[in-house]
Amino acid sequence: MADIAELRKPLEAFEEQVAPATRVRGYWQSVLYRLRHDPVTLAFGAVVLLIVVLAIVAPLVAPFDPYKESIVGRLKPFGWHEHLLGTDELGRDMLSRLLYGGRVSLLMGVVPVLIASIVGGLLGIVGGFAGGRINTAIMRTMDVFYAFPSVLLAVAIAGAMGGGIGNGMVALTMVFIPPMCRVAETATTQVRALDYIEAARATGAGPIKIIRYHVLSNVLGPVFIYASSLVSVSILLASGLSFLGLGVRPPMPDWGLMLSTLRQSIYVVPFVCAVPGVAIFVTSICFNLVSDGLRAAMDVRI
């Protein structure tokens, strides 16, 4: 048989030994590489970083005490007596309150998303990996939460538990767990069907080890991308809760709360009233664009 003689050529004919010419680059290295070449994302990332840093160092850079009231200096326009952004209805410095308010808003934006990614992500991975009845139980429960619009759900939970930062965060976390769970579940279901999971089982690995070494690394990407897009939603929702009096309590400075109390003075000092709204807008759009950039950099079929 000619074809068999052909097959018996010596083993040394390994042209395959040649490794690809590219540099060895891990997944996260390649993500960083792509991010470095994306100026738009880098620019908005810098703005996000600036907002975060300003919020952290607020006590150092705030020109006035954010709680100091002044009967005479109420509702003054931009630049009045060194109050760069004017004063609010109780004569407190707007710039200082904006800086301090950023702390609360960012906290309310990041913490619920973080907790929801961990809880929702774990539930989704467990459901997706276990499949069958466990999956049905978890995902149908999530569907119940999904039935309510997110704003309504947040307001309902916060309203039932009463206001305050803590309760507001719990309410937001509850809102974000179902979508987070769904993203993790979808990613896990896709991964679970692949041969390398089967191969890992064939070596005798149990479900925990398989999830830890093979599932997690493949599900973390989608979960992280989705979480980064939720931060801006969370900031908006948190401001909404504060606006309705269900989040931060006065006199603590918070962007949503500031917007809420200042709206009565919109005809007196319209620009001052718009300041917290602009802050919310800028922060959320920056987070959104950074998230888009991350998605583009991370969503590579490898």
Binding site: A2, L7, R8, E16, Q17, A19, P20, A200, T203, S217
Partner: protein, 354 residues
């Protein structure tokens, strides 16, 4: 006893594996009446009869080839042997120990000695894991510490012809199909198995790479004293690598014999049709008519009697009613086929007595 492999080279006495329990005469794996029916969603009581009463032995040190059309249950059978899919019924005996029996061998112990190489070389490697970690995962799971497991991975990669320094830190998407399949072979060998199930390991590769991987598999088998179960739908590949061949049709074994017996004296009409379907090397002997027509019947409602009777040119009433047993042909203990034509008492007009 000496081992003489198909190249007629005498390799000397077989290396004694300390894990060997039954001695050289004990088959590595005995499979008896293995069954797996998958329930069909939406229709109560119906099921896909993927593997339906399959029995065979795998002798130590041999390569048993399994051939059959797509959907005949080859891959399900492979997964059943490793308990990746739990069988509905049937018996597995590994080196004298019944698998999952109270006094037998446990599944996780079985998985230390039997490994598997999958068809899709891409899907069987974690895309987020460097090659060396994928290979080291098996030894790590089976109790080695991470540095030791990495060391094993390095050695094994070298043995499959990949430079561990060059390929170890790379990710699967940076490798060619042949290189990935080498990694998969290394991954299977890293745990030091005695038997390897190869589920269409070269089907997705192009011909020149296929030949390299096949030669690598033969060399590794000799080096590590392995037993292979080689699943493929490619008859020439099976002929090249196997010592014995098992032909499957719709979840059943239709013929089993040495590679020469199957290819030179096929007994079952299905085996003959399979062999006739290969394009001939001689243009004058090429055929235009397909030797076998139609698709295999639906495994949800397999034909009663002989499962091949719907496509068999020799089908008679007896084939539609009685299921032929896998009988030894002419008393030859090594060559068996399940066909009424080989059984003098079957009543088939073409059977030897009639």
């Amino acid at each position: 006893m000496t081992v003489i492999d198909r190249d007629n080279t005498i390799l000397g006495p077989p290396a004694l594996d300390p894990r060997d329990r039954g001695g050289p005469a004990q088959p590595m794996l005995i499979v008896r009446d293995l069954k797996k029916h998958f329930p069909v969603k939406g229709s109560r009581g119906k099921s896909v009869q993927a593997v339906d009463g399959v029995s065979f032995d795998v002798t130590k040190g041999e390569t048993l080839g399994i051939v059959g059309e797509s959907g005949c249950g080859k891959s399900t059978l492979a997964r059943l042997l490793l308990h990746l899919i739990v069988p509905d019924a049937g018996e597995l005996v590994f080196d004298g120990d019944a698998v999952n029996a109270p006094d037998g061998i446990r599944v996780d112990a079985l998985r230390r000695q039997v490994q598997m190489v999958f068809q899709d070389s891409y899907a069987s490697l974690n895309p987020r894991m460097p090659i060396r970690d994928s290979v080291a995962f098996g030894p790590f799971i089976q109790g080695k510490r991470k540095p030791a497991a990495r060391e094993v991975a390095r050695d094994t990669l070298r043995k499959v012809g990949l430079d561990p320094e060059l390929f170890g830190p790379r990710y699967p998407h940076e490798l060619s199909g042949g290189q990935k399949q080498r990694v998969n072979i290394a991954r299977a060998l890293a745990t030091g198995p005695r038997m390897v199930i190869l589920d269409e390991p070269v089907s997705a590769l192009d011909k020149s790479v296929e030949a390299q991987v096949l030669n690598l598999l033969r060399a590794l088998k000799r080096q590590f004293n392995l037993t292979y179960l080689f699943i493929s739908h490619d008859l020439s590949v099976v002929r090249y690598i196997s010592d014995r061949v098992l032909v499957m049709y719709l979840g059943r074994v239709v013929e089993l014999g040495s590679v020469d017996a199957i290819f030179d004296e096929p007994q079952h009409p299905y085996t003959r049709a399979l062999l006739a379907s290969r394009p001939s090397m001689d243009p004058a002997r090429r055929i235009d008519e397909p030797p076998i027509t139609g698709d295999p019947p639906n495994p949800i409602d397999p034909p009663v009697g002989c499962r091949f009777h719907t496509r068999c040119p020799f089908a008679e009433p007896v084939c539609r009613t009685r299921d032929p047993a896998l009988g030894y042909w002419q008393g030859d203990k090594a060559h068996a086929a399940a066909c009424h034509m080989l059984d003098p008492r079957s009543g088939h007009r073409r059977s030897r007595d009639a």
